[in-house]
């Protein structure tokens, strides 16, 4: 009987468990999860603060998931080292667990720059885990002045989640625009305006030089007085376990298309892994939930002796703020085709006859059709590109392709 060990208890771990069990019903699965919660949906923590969900509905899988899948779970426990030669994982209490196949799904952690005087700030929070959200939740009060450092996905979702529960929110970022990882300047300006109309203040192209208790002294010379500080600058992959065991890491743990690391019998998946980005044509950490599941699932299937490759991962995001929804995917490389009206924007990027990326703001219907064009590298001369530029629809395909899509098992 095979012994599987999974380090991590998030979405990548669930994907791994379900992948293993799709092949092997018998093997012994051990899960080492640092968080003392049943697996939950991390991207929902802002919705939790907003009151749109609760901890019960945030459960990513039903109660009994581990039991039904025959998993032994160490909750609230940490793996401290991997010995790739003896095939053992050592836990924080010194206990050792043997594995035949190991999956490292250890996620990421908030990156906190070394701001001067940060230790003088009493009420500071990260915004990544359920415990982070619960701590912030407990600290919120109606007149609170909140400073959020970081205008990325995490910082802005946090702002949306708490807006109605605090007095004011200021978001600062070193970048000159909001959501700089997924939006270009023109699109970011539209989104920023919308956020400002909804009461969020911005200090962009600016950063904190030092903190003095509840005051941030900005590089630009200004100051921001705050009651609560949220640090949402970015995240770092938890790759040390594999690095220390002799595996190759870059920004994340290097994996191939089977999610195998450079260590024999060791796989990695999720935010800690650096796999191939098919849109970029290079390796990069794609810290998005669908990727975590699919990488985990791929790892699990291969660990159990199946054959699975995940070679068409692309960056993609669907996110909304105060009723304005946007979707982005791929890379913004090549010729741009724009269709903009009434505050909505559709930007498609085309290179070498393929769709490489898109930005959609306020016009997101059927966007998955665009995403599939990117993922499958569909030659655009096989679709009606004039229609494609105006809307995502199944009309862009030939009748023959449609017959396969809608007349067959897919």
């Amino acid at each position: 009987m095979k012994r599987y060990v999974i380090i991590g208890g998030g979405v990548a771990a669930v994907g791994c468990i379900e992948g293993i069990r799709s092949i092997d019903r018998e093997g012994e699965i051990t899960v080492i999860s640092e968080e003392d919660h049943p697996v939950y949906s991390r991207p929902l923590i802002s919705y939790l603060l907003e009151g749109k969900t609760d901890t019960e509905r945030m459960k990513y899988r039903p109660d009994g998931f581990y039991k039904e899948n025959g998993c032994r779970v160490f909750c609230g426990r940490r793996a401290v080292s991997i010995n790739a030669v003896s095939h053992t994982v050592t836990l924080d209490d010194g206990a050792e667990t043997l594995y035949d196949k190991l999956c490292v799904a250890a996620g990421s952690r908030p990156f906190v720059p070394s701001f001067d005087g940060l230790d003088t700030v009493e009420n500071k929070f990260s915004f990544m885990t359920l415990d982070d959200a619960l701590a912030l939740d407990a600290a919120l009060f109606e007149s609170a002045r909140v400073l959020i450092v970081g205008a990325g996905l995490i910082g802005l979702k946090c702002a949306e989640g708490i807006r109605d529960r605090v007095g004011s929110i200021t978001v600062c970022d070193l970048a000159d625009r909001v959501l700089s990882s997924i939006l270009d300047s023109a699109c970011a300006a539209v989104v920023q305006k919308h956020l400002e109309q909804n009461g969020i203040g911005f200090m962009l192209g600016d950063t904190v030089q030092r903190f003095e208790d509840s005051r941030a002294c900005m590089k630009s010379g200004g100051t921001v007085d705050f009651d609560l500080l949220v640090l949402a600058v970015g995240v770092r992959a938890n790759s040390e376990l594999v690095r220390d065991a002799g595996g190759e890491v870059n920004r994340g743990i290097l994996v191939d298309e089977k999610m195998q690391t450079t260590l024999t019998d060791v796989y990695a998946a999720g935010d800690c892994a650096e796999g191939y980005d098919a849109a970029l044509g290079a390796r990069r950490v794609l810290a998005i939930l669908p990727n975590a599941y699919m990488q985990g699932n791929t790892a699990g299937i291969n660990m159990a002796g199946g054959e699975k490759e995940f070679g068409n991962a692309v960056p993609m995001n669907s996110i909304g703020f105060f009723g304005l929804h946007m979707m982005t995917a791929g890379v913004y490389d090549g010729e741009m085709f724009e269709d903009a009206e009434n505050g909505s924007i559709r930007r498609l990027f085309v290179k070498d006859g393929r769709l490489t990326g898109y930005i959609l703001i306020g016009v997101t219907d059927r966007a998955g059709i665009y995403t599939s064009l990117i993922r499958e590298k569909t030659p655009l001369d096989t679709v009606d590109f004039d229609l494609t530029k105006k809307a995502a629809s199944n009309l862009i395909f030939s009748q023959d392709i449609r017959r396969k899509k809608f007349g067959g098992v897919v």
């Binding site: 699919m294 997101t364 998955g368 199944n394 009748q399 899509k405 067959g408």
Partner: protein
């Protein structure tokens, strides 16, 4: 398993499937009360223009990417039928981002909804197919190689 398949050349573009879907999922007994003067949010949508029309609903893929991508764990695959737990959905639209068929759209309340083959409502079999006047959509078994 039985799925809904499209015979595009037979579609008249009459949109009866959309109305029957909205009615079947309204939970109401009276079709007039359910639909009259209301903007409908059917789970099947007729796409197309003058000459070409066809109805698109969930393909119930054998390896559904929406299930793997849902950030809330709200979409699941039970016995081949892809279902959504609307109570867990937060309306992030990630399923719309990934569905290669463009087969999902939010309901009136902004929460996602999708075709569940009318297995859980009072119809028991897809109302869109039952009401289609020209067999432009059918509900049947087809093999993966067909």
């Amino acid at each position: 398993m039985k799925r809904v398949y499209v015979n595009e050349e037979w579609c008249l573009g009459c949109r009866l499937c959309e109305y029957n879907c909205a009615y079947a999922n309204s939970g109401l007994k009276d079709m007039v009360v359910a639909l009259k003067d209301k903007k409908i949010f059917p789970r099947i949508r007729v796409e197309g223009e003058d000459r070409i029309t066809f109805a698109v609903s969930c393909r119930h893929c054998t390896d559904p990417i929406c299930v793997k991508s849902c950030i809330a764990g709200a979409i699941s695959n039970r016995d081949g039928v892809v279902r959504i737990d609307r109570n867990k959905c937060v309306g992030c639209l990630t399923c719309v981002l990934v569905c290669p068929y463009g087969a999902l759209a939010p309901g009136e309340d902004g929460v996602m909804q999708k075709c569940e083959l009318c297995l859980d409502n009072s119809c028991g079999a897809p109302a869109c197919v039952t009401g289609c006047p020209n067999r432009a959509i059918v509900y049947e078994e087809r093999s993966e190689t067909q």
